[in-house]
């Protein structure tokens, strides 16, 4: 067999077309039609924090809402943004043009900001659960978008504030050199300073080409700082922590993982992750309601427990469906601004986050939980990884709206 130029080009073209085609799961026809599109990372570094488990959570929300019984025909679509803003923008346009009522998830702040703009242009609803950048409800806020689950400001307040109060006064940061890393570093550094701490150094390392962090870790160690602040995410955080262990840094410094999901802890293993301090707004084993939710959703995602990002997709979808039902006007649902305004008026209540609400600027206001990762011996059941240290109420965790907000929705 020889491979001709034509077959090669042909297969390459087919591959490209397949990659950009949204993968759909249609349901039986009939009833009022609602389309929800999960745009997430299905193939790259944030797949385990979003991806298929986010889809499972959205589907669980549709089931828990009782869509079929209430006479709705809900279709859940999915698209892989590949962590590229241009791919994400094209997908979002395509989905909205196909009549999608809600785009949800979108980890990666750069892609989220891009899709945020598309939602505004098309006047359709957008709930971001996976991205961290607090700029989504600040500089980039709009009437069509809601930022669910967490943001950089809240991570800085919760993890940063707690570590300084516990005596970690001097900090050395290792920062991913792009928008997200800088935002996380700047906001945490501000918290450290406001609590009387000092920042003795910072390294901006190239993202995403760095796998070896030993050089930065040695610099952190020789700085004499008490706390190592990791302003990065995903595999970078895992690599940083794994290597900090190898160099025995954990004996001299405390490590603050400024953005760590439970899936990262699972990937590292408790041998490495033990004693790490981190913040999430959802943990499956937090209370009876979170355990009940997790028990329901696990059959859809047996190998990957939901983290806060994915639980946020559940919570956001459920609230969206409740609002649609309460509005009882399918024409108004197609008006993104009107729909999101109605979502903001109604308080939220679900098993994953309990009672909460959405602020005027689109910020979902939920409690931030500070956790410590358990030692291997303390973990009794699968994915039993966290001990709760403290909780910060929403009004303390998120950036106050009065504080120099750049959000145009707020009339001052």
């Amino acid at each position: 067999m020889t491979i001709s130029r034509r077959t090669l080009i042909g297969s390459a073209a087919t591959g490209a077309a397949m990659a950009s085609l949204p993968m759909g799961r249609a349901r039986a026809a009939g009833g009022k039609s609602i389309k929800i599109a999960v745009i997430s990372d299905f193939s790259g570094p944030y797949r385990d924090d979003g991806g298929p488990t986010s889809v499972a959570c959205v589907e669980q929300a549709v089931a828990d809402f009782g869509a079929t019984q209430k006479g709705y025909n809900v279709t859940v679509l999915k698209g892989d943004h590949q962590n590229k803003p241009d791919v994400g923008t094209a997908l979002a346009r395509q989905f909205y043009d196909q009549g999608v009522d809600l785009v949800i998830d979108v980890p990666n702040t750069a892609v989220a900001i891009a899709i945020n703009g598309v939602a505004h242009d098309k006047n359709r609803a957008f709930i971001d659960s996976g991205a961290a950048g607090s700029s989504l409800t600040d500089k980039f806020c709009n009437a069509q978008s809601i930022h669910w689950t967490y943001d950089t400001y809240m991570l800085a307040q919760s993890t940063g504030g707690a570590m300084v109060k516990a005596g970690g006064k001097s900090w050395f940061f290792v920062t991913a050199n792009y928008a997200f890393g800088h935002l996380l570093h700047d906001q945490t550094a501000a918290v450290v300073k406001s609590h009387g701490g000092t920042v003795v150094g910072n390294v901006n390392y190239p993202f995403p080409q760095t796998t070896d962090f030993s050089s930065f870790l040695i610099q952190a160690e020789s700085s004499g700082a008490q706390v190592l602040g990791l302003a990065n995410a995903g595999a970078d955080t895992v690599n940083s922590i794994k290597q900090a262990h190898q160099f025995g840094l954990t004996k001299k410094m405390k490590i603050a993982g400024l953005l760590v999901f439970i899936n990262d802890v699972h990937g590292m293993g408790l041998d490495i992750a033990q004693d790490l301090i981190l913040t999430e707004s959802f943990y499956w084993n937090l209370n009876d309601r979170t355990r009940a939710f997790t028990k329901r959703v696990l059959p859809r995602t047996p190998n990957n427990y939901p983290c806060m990002d994915q639980a946020g997709c559940y919570s956001g979808t459920l609230h969206f469906l409740k609002t649609v039902h309460a509005m009882n006007n399918m024409a108004a649902v197609k008006n993104g601004a009107e729909l999101v305004a109605a979502m903001k008026k109604m308080p939220t209540d679900d098993d994953a986050f309990g009672k909460a609400y959405i602020r005027e600027d689109g910020r979902f206001m939920c409690t931030a939980y500070l956790f410590k990762v358990k030692k291997p011996g303390e973990s009794k059941i699968p994915w039993d990884y966290y001990t709760l240290l403290a909780s910060t109420p929403a009004n303390k965790a998120y950036m106050p709206m009065s504080e120099e907000t750049a959000c145009k929705l707020i009339k001052t």
Partner: protein, 295 residues
Amino acid sequence: MMMIFGKPAPLLFGQLLLGIINGSFYAMLSLGLAIIFGLLRVINFAHGALFMVGAFVTWGLHHYLGIGFWPALLIAPVIVAALGLGIERGLIRFTYKLDILYGLLLTFGLALVLEGLFTNGFGSSGVAYNAPDLLSGVVDLGFMFLPVYRGFVIVAAIVICTAVWFTIEKTRLGALLRAATENPSLVQAFGVNVPRLIALTFAGGVGLAGLAGVLAAPLYSVNPNMGSALIDTVFAVVVIGGMGSIGGAILTGFGLGIIQGFTEVFYPPASSVVVFAVMAIVLLTRPAGLFGKAA
């Protein structure tokens, strides 16, 4: 404390050592690439993915079969080499008569397929693998604490690189390999099975990637993208060293590791770019690479 260019001397000694450790991986990976390119004229873009497979096989041996690090050091490269043999016989050999770009496209596609399969099977956040007990812990070198395992990696890399260089440049087998690429029909006329020789060379080259994967498993996050993060730098190493030059790949691998290590102290954001800056300078002044023969 003694200062060099405004940085404490112990910090710089530490960086030198860390640079050599990273250089060990560059050297081992670029070595396999250089062998495959030098003898087969195939630009193997799947090399990073096969490095990743090596790390996953190491983890899998322990996770599913309870086989530890030391046996894995032998078993995993053999499994990866066997996979390489299948890839060469099943796919790559069809590209030998075509333009060199077809082999590149094919292996690039293979890398994407392998990464996709592992992402689907094991997720993106990776799996846990720790250094064997014998090699855990740190030694105090006075100017820094060196993890024992990293010291082991340096020694292992030097031994492996020297052995491979010796085999190719100084033994009868190596001479046959080099002859087979210069003039396959003549070597065949002497009764040597050239296609088998080439297939085994490819298997050997990717086996080296698998071996590097085993050594990397306790150091880095074992995840499906771990290879693609390294492969760009490794290609730059091969180009700087001179495409196909075995010794060049080894020396450049260690050299660039050290240059990168120092960049990480003086201006960290440039540490990924510095390799390519060196590559540009080398290509401008010596287009065939530092150790390459002029084309």
